[in-house]
Symmetry: C2
Subunit: 317 residues, 2 copies
């Protein structure tokens, strides 16, 4: 399969949008941003064996490569619109590419995202996606708006992906619901849109709750107190009958959750409840924003708790 066969194979599966003036097939894509909207741009790369386990199904890689980028748009409160894809492959393989595209386009069509360009190269397996979204001016959710006294919330539940990865690494059986959370994260687009006017700050949880909340606190010039036993756990995670230490570690510092962590005024809890109920989304109150910089974590008894590592570190000395 030559490069241009591969591009043709991708191109024939691309869905259109009215605002794509020119998609795949020229030197660059030509896009019509609606007047008065701001452009939101996120770019994330997944490398084989680093961001997904070696041997991950191609459809799951395709899904996840787009999902992690849409999750960034969700955290900004943006509508997804377009994306570009750079796919590096060590060897051409029609079945692999078709599987990859199955996963990629399954998620793209759920959110009406048009693939408008990119490239295919020869190299170690790596997938880079740039996602473009749109947001009304002043409506973007940012990291730098958390205020002292704010409630801290997290959507859904956390720790499933870390559990799946840990079990995989120990060659233990991984329950399907946990593996699905690792392989096919669901970007919280509708929730991000609904948090406008409610959330003071927002981030998506990719590196672990403590690490990502740390970015919010640093950007906002505040700190946080977190109850690690308030972190919501899925039925599948609870069914593992973990010791508290392991569960807390996976939930607070595991990463790959792609839930939204956000802060709101406690006076508006009922409004937030109503908004989330309308969407059918659960969220858990896990702590409070404080003036003192840094994050203090405690358990349900109020005893201080420290993770054995916070967040995924790509490079260390």
């Amino acid at each position: 399969m030559r490069e241009f066969d591969l591009i043709a194979r991708i191109r024939e599966r691309v869905a259109s949008r009215g605002d794509v003036v020119l998609g795949i097939g020229d030197d660059a894509a030509l896009l019509q941003v609606p007047d008065g909207m701001q452009l939101v741009v996120a770019m994330d790369t997944l490398n084989d064996g680093v961001h997904f386990p070696i041997g991950t199904a191609p459809g799951d890689i395709g899904w996840k490569a787009l999902a992690v980028n849409l999750s960034d748009l969700a955290a900004m409160g943006a509508h997804p619109a377009w994306c570009t894809l750079s796919l590096s492959l060590p060897t051409p393989d029609r079945a692999w590419v078709d599987g990859f595209l199955d996963g990629f386009f399954a998620l793209a069509s759920e959110h009406d995202v048009a693939l408008v360009g990119g490239d295919t190269t020869h190299g170690p397996l790596s997938v880079c996606v740039t996602a473009h979204g749109l947001v009304e001016p002043g409506r973007a959710l940012r990291r730098d708006g958390a205020r002292v006294g704010d409630d801290i919330w997290i959507t859904g539940n956390v720790g499933d992906a870390a559990a799946a990865l840990s079990l995989l690494q120990r060659s233990e059986r991984v329950p399907d619901p946990l593996r699905a959370r690792l392989d096919r994260p669901m970007p919280r687009i509708a929730t991000g849109r609904a948090l406008h006017g409610l959330a003071h700050a927002c981030i998506d949880v990719s590196d672990g709750v403590l690490a990502d909340l740390g970015h919010v606190c640093a950007a906002s010039g505040v700190g946080a107190r977190i109850d690690v036993d308030a972190l919501p756990a899925s039925e599948a995670l609870c069914a593992l009958s973990l010791d508290a230490g392991t569960r807390r570690q996976w939930q607070a510092a595991g990463g790959d959750d792609y839930e939204l962590c956000f802060t709101t005024d406690p006076a508006r809890r009922s409004e937030l409840d109503a908004t989330l109920s309308r969407l059918g989304v659960d969220a858990s109150r896990i702590g409070v924003v404080v003036a003192n910089p840094g994050i203090v974590a405690h358990d349900a008894d109020g005893s201080a708790w420290q993770p054995s590592a916070t967040g995924y570190v790509h490079f260390s000395d």
Copy 2:
């Protein structure tokens, strides 16, 4: 050097633009597209040992990763505006990163391009850039507008980069001007802008003149007749005293030139001359657009000429 140190190192060198609402440091960048302008998006990845020779200086890799993307914007007739960068590194190395950024930002500042986001990951050396430009509606240069009877032009000269690569691969000395063309291509932004209203079709030459002109012909539903001895050669290339076969091969099918190949109405030659003179840019007329699909190449004597390979092929069965 941890990921966040690396991001901080990049962030402190970023230049600003008035239309960057929010740059590096949140989940995504927030950009203000001017009302009435269309967005132009190109994405290209460079992999170690595939798109640049192993051992290429980090500054040259940084320059080239941005240059190949800006060249795509040039071929569309767009103004560059913003870019995102995904940098995968096998090991953290401050000196390497600083050198890379020297080259990247040297070119970015020449064209007032703001780096607004991206990511850094652990993996084999690979650089992915997404470049964003702006163009007035209806002004974009495309591949699909070539007309039968059009002159075919190429800017500057071609073959230098292919010569440099070939000498390198044979461990021969590479003259500096040839190496510079391989390592630090100059995107033809001003020329692309000036071709509005003159060029019927345009492409940048990355895969070789014949291969890229072939894309223009295919998109336009036409063919081309090319005089390979009309392909312009630099003084440095001429100084190599090549046999005609090698020179033609490098010039017509070598790639990595990043010149613009475009077609115009022959009735407007003097207007084109005046436009290019004003810019101080040379262009050579290398052939004519014909109705018959495919490209027929001949030499100065009119004898048919065939390359031994056309263009760079990323994958082959």
